[in-house]
Amino acid sequence: MFKNNAFDALDPEIINRVVSRRDALRKAGNAAGAMAIASVPVAFAVMAKDAFAQGMPGDVTSVLNFALTLEYLEDEFYRTGLATSGLIAAENVPVFQQISKHETAHVALLLSALGGSAVAKPTFDFTAGGVFDPFGDSAQFLALSQGFEDTGVRAYKGQAGNLISDGATLTIALRIHSVEARHASEVRRIRGFKGWITNADVDVAALAPSYAGEDNKTQAGVDISGLGTAAAVTEAFDEPLTSDQVLAIAGLFIAA
C-alpha cells in the first residue's frame, strides 16, 4: 500500500497543488520579502493517496505514517538548527536540544511501530523554495519552530478520533500530542508571546494558515462565548486540523 518514498505516495492533485503554491510563493517572496506573505504555510506531512482518497487517514497505519512524516520534518529541522553555529542563542540551546531529543525519540518510536510499513523520510527544503531562511535568520528559525509545534499539536488532535478503536495506539499518540504542546508553549514564550493561542492570532502573517479556526467558540455543541473573555475562551481550547487542512498548508517544506 505504501511506497518507499512518502512523496511518491502523494496524490497527483496534491503534488500539483503543492508545486503551484511553491511557485507562487517563490515569486511573491522575491517581490515582497520572505516573511510577509499572507499565504505561506507552515508545512507538514504528506498523505498516502489511498488514505487521502477517503478524506482522512482512516486506518492506524495511515495515521502513524502521517505522524511519522511530521516527526521526520521536526527532527531534521531541529538537528539542522542545532548544527548551525550561532543560529540559536546560547541560553536557548538547552531548550532546543531537549525538543530535538523528543522529536528524534518520536521518529524512532513510530518507525518501530510501523516496521516495514513506514514511509521513507522525504527530502526537506526548509526554505520552501527560497521563501524562508530559517538557518540563516534566528528569528525565522524561532517562528518556524512555533509554527511546526502548534501545527503538530493540531495535526495529532485531528487524528485522535481515527485511533479511538485502538486504545493503546491512541494513548501513545496522546502522549506525543501533549509533548508537542509543551514544546509549543515554550517556543511561544521564548518569542515573547503567551504559551497558549489567543483567537487565531499570530504575529507572522505567513503562519496564519496554521492558526485558522483557533478562534472557535463552540465546543461539543456548547456556546462558550459567555464563559469568559473572547481571548480566554479561545485560549482554553486548542483546535484540531483535519488531514486535508494540514495538506492544504503542507508540502512546501518537502522537496522530494
Binding site: E91, N92, P94, V95, Q97, Q98, I99, K101, H102, E103, T104, A105, H106, A108, L109, V153, K157, A160, G161, I164, G167, A168, L170, T171, I172, L174, R175, I176, H177, S178, V179, E180, A181, R182, H183, A184, S185, E186, R189, K194, G195, W196, Q219, A220, G221, V222, I224, L227, G228, T229, A232, V233, E235, A236, F237, D238, E239, P240
Partner: protein, 238 residues
Amino acid sequence: MNSDSTGRAELGFLARLANTTSRRKFVQWAGVTVGVVAIGCGDDNNGGTGPGSQDVNLGTGDTGVLNYAYALEQLEAAFYVQVIATPYAGITPDETAILTDIRDHEVIHRNFLKTALGANAIADLSVDFASIDFTSRTSVLGAAKTFEDLGVSAYNGAGALLTDVNNLLVAGKIVSVEARHAAAIRDLLAPKSAAIGFAGDDVIGADGLDQSNPPPTVLAAADTYVTTTINASGLPTS
C-alpha cells in the same frame, strides 16, 4: 471499610500519593484501585463538613469519564482562584499574567464541562488546600506544577476510556492547553532547563512520551486536596 485486609502493595504505593491525614478516604481510594470497594462505599457520608461535601459518584461510561475531568477542573479552578485572590509574596507581573490566564482557562473548562454534562454533572467538590502555603512562590508554583502535570497525565490516560469521538476530541482540545500550562509553570520554576523544565526529563521519558495515568492513580494523588469523597468505581477501565 473493608480494604485494610487487602491490596497491601497498592496501599504502600498510594500512601506516597495520599494525604496521611485523610486516612479514611485514602483507604477508599485504595479500595477502588484493588477493586474491593464498590458502589456501596459511596454511601459513606462522612467525607467532609458543610455544603458540597457529600460524596459524589462519577457515574459510568463517557459520562463518568467527563465527570472525572470535571472533578479535576473543579480542583484546578479552585486552586487558581485562590492563587489570584491571595498572590504570593514577590509575584512578578509576568507571573500574575500567566497565573491569571490559567485561572481563566480552568474556570472555563470547569463551567464548560458542567454545562456539557447537564443533569449528569456531579455536585460541587469541597477542596482542602491546607497543605499549600499561598504566601510562598515555591509552594504555589510547586502545587501548580503538580496539578498541571497530573491533569495532562489524567487526560492522556482517559482518552482511551472514551467511546464517543466527539468527547475524545473535546478532551484533546483541553489536554493540550493543560500541557501548555504545565510547560509555562515548569519554566517559571526552572527556566529553560532540560532536566526539570518545560518538558523535563522528570516528566518526559526517554521514549519522548508524556505521562499517562489511570483514574485511580490520579484521584489518589488529587485526594490530598479534595474533601469530598469521589466514587470512581463506575468508570471504564479500558
